[in-house]
């Protein structure tokens, strides 16, 4: 077998592990639920196009705000959150419940590399599915507005907005993903922490400034190109500058991942009967 050590070996092992997780996340029967979730915003956009009255087809003025609200309150909160939960919890907890994790622990792979490899696989798969969904939804929002819609889409600001949404979605996958990977490693029943965290995220708009810093959705919010009203009771906190939000999200992801890798070192195989 190959004798190379250090970076080149780890890089190759990470690619192998990532490829396998991508294969499992995209093409296995189990990923049906994630595809269903990802199809929801697309169906939403199609239905909107179907029922759009003639009067509004001429111009695309408030389509941007309409999409922004759908993005923040529906896509980010439900679709990305629960897709990440399904894709990242199964990386470890899924394999423990199916009693197939030991095959990974019997391979000549360091536990940290195993964690990183699986995480990257999950991240790429979720970013691919959800990224495609967001882009497709944006296009389908502007399509029914004919030339005006197309003009906006291809304009500098339109493309800028699209890119911002894409970056927000990918970073959301990274942050939520790392969190759920960790939840899968620690908890026998990761559903409970997931629901608690969702509750915390839903409360964020109503929390005072410094508490907002503890919730991922606050940083994601400040990355979204179009400001949206958080509803009457929200405590407005001055938004975090874009670059700081990106740095914070990456820091959160890497931090949680490191914690996961450290926990994986102590992993033992005791598939106790449930």
């Amino acid at each position: 077998m190959s004798g190379s050590h250090g970076w080149s070996l780890w890089r190759r092992q990470i690619t192998v592990l990532a490829k396998q997780e991508i294969g499992r996340s995209l093409f296995s029967r189990r990923s049906l639920a994630v595809y269903l979730l990802a199809a929801m915003p697309i169906a939403l956009a199609l239905l909107r196009a179907l029922f759009l009255p003639e009067s509004q087809r001429a111009h695309a003025a408030h389509t941007t705000t309409e999409f922004a609200e759908v993005y923040h309150f529906f896509i980010l909160r439900f679709i990305v959150f629960f897709s990440a939960a399904m894709l990242f919890v199964k990386l470890f907890r899924g394999e423990i419940l199916e009693r197939s994790l030991h095959y990974h622990l019997l391979a000549p792979v360091r536990r940290e590399i195993l964690t990183v490899g699986k995480y990257i696989g999950g991240l790429l798969a979720s970013a691919a599915i959800l990224g495609a969904t967001v882009v497709l939804t944006i296009v389908l929002f502007y399509l029914p507005h004919g030339r005006a819609g197309m003009a906006h889409l291809t304009s500098a600001s339109g493309l800028g907005e699209g890119f911002a949404y894409l970056v927000t979605t990918v970073l959301a996958c990274a942050a939520y993903g790392a969190l759920f990977l960790l939840a899968g490693l620690y908890f026998k029943n990761p559903m409970i922490p997931a629901v608690l965290f969702l509750g915390w995220e839903l409360l964020t708009p109503f929390l005072p400034g410094f508490l907002k810093l503890l919730s991922v959705v606050h940083y994601l919010g400040s990355l979204e190109p179009v400001p949206i009203s958080q509803g009457p009771f929200a405590l407005m906190a001055q938004p975090v500058p874009g670059w700081l939000a990106v740095v914070a999200l990456i820091a959160i992801s890497v931090g949680l991942l490191a914690l996961g890798a450290w926990k994986a070192r102590g992993l033992e195989i005791t598939y106790s009967t449930e």
Partner: protein
């Protein structure tokens, strides 16, 4: 620490208060070692400890010089076929094997070649493309074996590898293990089918209640149990004649008619003198003999003496 033995020093493992293994100290030489013991005696726990799937509560382990908590080096040398009858969801025989090979650093053409080679060895070429969920128990066992030997390990640890295999499969696998053990490798086989352990292993480790009860070659182990005189079973048409004549010799301590008077079980404290004399008794008494076998040279008997019939699971 010579780099050619698997050494376990004073290792204990508890799951909370549940006993896994208790102060096990054993050195395993290359060759085929049988690991024998009732269900729940700690066999699987010991094997998990050797492969780092479990961390010992106390004590130290070295597998041909490599500590088990270094998976990167350990699993270049070690292959482990566990008892779990579960597989990654939705994988086929070929995909399961090629992924394992990829993790070992083999990919592309030589991974494919090696995969088919191993599938050939375990007799699964026909079913390789089908989902493992559809395999029968014996076929699942074979694909697990393939995964354990695909990277040509120097140490092979097998937890009940023949479980569910058909007679032909058992014979093929036993030859494979012998061949591997012959090439200076370590092959550790845990099994409940004692006459197979008898047949294939050079040495035996007997575990009961989490601790090692006996260790070494079967005949030495049997020799050490001097308390129990040697038992010989003679099946013939007139067992009473044999029993009567046998008591003429001082070293014969017991004769028991068994199985509805189709045989007699003789116990002697001096095996050397016993067999020639037995020959003469048979000739003189003109008895038609069907079988003469030392009843307790086998692992069965040693198992019964050391662990006892009631030694069933907890």
């Amino acid at each position: 620490m010579t780099a050619d033995i698997i050494s376990v020093k004073n290792v204990s493992k508890f799951y909370g208060e549940v006993l896994g293994v208790n102060r096990v100290t054993v050195d395993i030489e290359p060759g085929l070692t049988g690991l024998v013991g009732p269900n729940g005696s700690g066999k699987s726990t010991l094997m998990h400890l050797l492969c780092g799937l479990l961390r010992p509560t106390r004590g130290s382990i070295s597998v041909i010089g490599v500590p088990p908590d270094k998976p990167e080096e350990l699993f270049r040398l070690v292959g482990y076929c566990t008892q779990y009858d579960s597989f990654p969801n939705g994988s086929t025989g070929y995909s399961f094997l090629s992924h394992t090979l990829a993790l070992h650093g083999l990919d592309g053409v030589d991974a494919d070649r090696r995969a088919w080679e191993v599938l050939e060895q375990v007799g699964l070429t026909e079913a390789a493309r089908r989902r493992i969920a559809g395999y029968s128990k014996g076929m699942r066992q074979r694909i697990k074996l393939a995964q354990a030997i695909c990277h040509d390990p120097r140490v092979l640890i097998l937890d009940e590898p023949l479980n569910g295999l058909d007679p032909m499969g058992r014979a093929e696998m036993i030859d494979l293990f012998k061949e591997l053990a012959g090439a200076g490798r370590h092959v550790i086989v845990s099994s409940h089918i004692l006459h197979e352990v008898d047949l294939i292993s050079d040495g035996v480790i007997m575990i009961h209640g989490g601790s090692v009860v006996a260790e070494g070659s079967i005949r030495d182990v049997r020799g050490e149990i001097t308390a129990q005189p040697l038992q010989v079973l003679v099946r013939c048409d007139r067992p009473h004649a044999i029993a009567a004549r046998a008591f003429e010799f001082a070293h014969v301590v017991e004769a028991q008619i068994v199985d509805e008077a189709t045989g007699v079980l003789l116990r002697t404290t001096d095996a050397g003198a016993f067999f020639p004399e037995l020959g003469r008794i048979i000739l003189d008494s003109g008895v038609e003999v069907e079988t003469v076998t030392p009843a307790d040279e086998s692992v069965h008997a040693v198992y019964d003496y050391l662990i006892g019939d009631g030694g069933g699971g907890p």
